[in-house]
Symmetry: C2
Subunit: 240 residues, 2 copies
DNA sequence: CAGTGGTCTAGACCACCGC
DNA sequence: CGGTGGTCTAGACCACTGG
């Protein structure tokens, strides 16, 4: 994919570090070279390296501590704006009891619908999962998950019986970008039964496709009871 | 509201500039002091001022041009993440014909529900508006709008007959932050009629409260046909 | 207490662009 | 052309913190 030609030196450093992280060369927790080392490597002053690393830290890619150095950050939430990544954390953070239940898990060749959800052009093998999340015993969310085995082969031998795939994937995949789509649907009989709603009740649907350096990792479709659940977000009129 | 004690000098400069913008002292288009002037004013080097202004530019508050200086940016969209600010632009951008219709406009003392929507503690006068947006003649969205007259007194004499309040407000208010809430509801008979849906059809509801330096400016509740409309968003696991 | 990042300086040169 | 922001330097001092 065309080199965007980083015009300035610190932009080139930013791109290089990002490539190492997004490409999985520097995994989460990895300690990257010290500012002085990078300055020597790029033949520039420490200020220039500092500017690059500070920017990457603000963007959430790095964690920096005096004395111990700079390490690749563990992706906490997939989105700080839509706090929907780790459902268990979302529930326990509000003081409610969390429970998980696996409804279905199957290995299959990607159907046309699977390929559509993962935006895959080629045939592929996927793991399909359907599971539920509960808060204080009440149905909180139904999750339909696809995992691309080409990217996460370890998923083939994972049962997902006791823990949700979201958290497991977060530990498998070093870093990712996510695309979200939000819509509303009327619950069909099956979904209504699972969420203990009346058939036709409005449900909020959040779909998230996660990528790792252009490859689709996973697709999650999360169905929430529409009137009980809300997504919150706060913005300034920026572009970042 | 307690001074957050800007620990570093460039953070203090950032806070000061932000206060001037969010407080309406420096309106959009206003040319702020040159780097050299600010450096002299704060008794620091130009690099320190440059760091502060560069950060504010990335955050979308400023626009900088060589020779002509640094000016306060005009807020384009209220949110670059959820592109829902200017509905007319959203529709025309996809090549469809836009139409607008005012259903109701009224001046009133804020009801308890109004105060709740605007998060107002005190009595206030508001303008309440109900209007619709169409794309290619099809109902696109029903908008229920509250405007706080204490912040935007000009709204008292605005009819909103020919143009939606969103765009008008964008021109009235120099700068703002927005809080979004997204949920799903079953359309009641009235909403279903307006959107030409069957009663009970799932609708996506986006609520946006806009603030200007702690004061509530306006609250918008946008109801979309849930299955026809989707919100898109793309994220990296950052914290900004 | 030694080494890391955090911050800041007082310069410098350059590209751009409005006058 | 002159003045602006964009970038970078080669230092400096400090705060914090892990060994």
């Amino acid at each position: 994919m065309m080199d965007p030609k980083p015009a300035t030196l610190h932009d080139r450093i930013i791109d290089d570090v990002k490539d190492n992280i997004l490409g999985g060369v520097w995994m989460p927790g990895h300690r990257i070279p010290f500012e002085t080392e990078l300055a020597a490597r790029y033949g520039c002053s420490r200020m220039t390296v500092n500017k690059a690393l500070t920017e990457l830290t603000k963007a959430g890619f790095l964690e920096r501590r005096r004395r111990s150095g700079t390490v690749v950050r563990r992706p906490r939430t997939q989105s700080a704006v839509l706090e929907i990544a780790d459902i268990e954390r979302e529930i326990t953070a509000t003081g409610r009891a969390y429970a998980y239940a696996l409804l279905f898990r199957g290995l299959r060749k990607a159907t046309p619908d699977d390929r559509d959800r993962l935006e895959l052009g080629e045939p592929a093998k996927v793991v399909g999962i359907r599971c539920m999340h509960f808060a204080d015993g009440e149905p909180f969310c139904v999750e339909e998950r696809l995992i691309n085995l080409a990217v996460v082969p370890a998923a083939e031998h994972e049962s997902f019986r006791d823990a949700a795939p979201g958290g497991w994937l977060l530990r498998q995949v070093p870093w990712s970008r996510a695309e979200h789509t939000i819509s509303a649907v009327n619950a069909d009989a099956e979904l209504a039964g699972l969420l203990r709603l009346k058939p036709g009740a409005a449900c909020l649907v959040v779909e998230r496709r996660t990528r790792l350096a252009e490859a689709s990792v996973t697709h999650a479709r999360l169905c929430y009871p529409g009137t009980k659940h809300q997504l919150m977000a706060q913005f300034t009129p920026s572009g970042r």
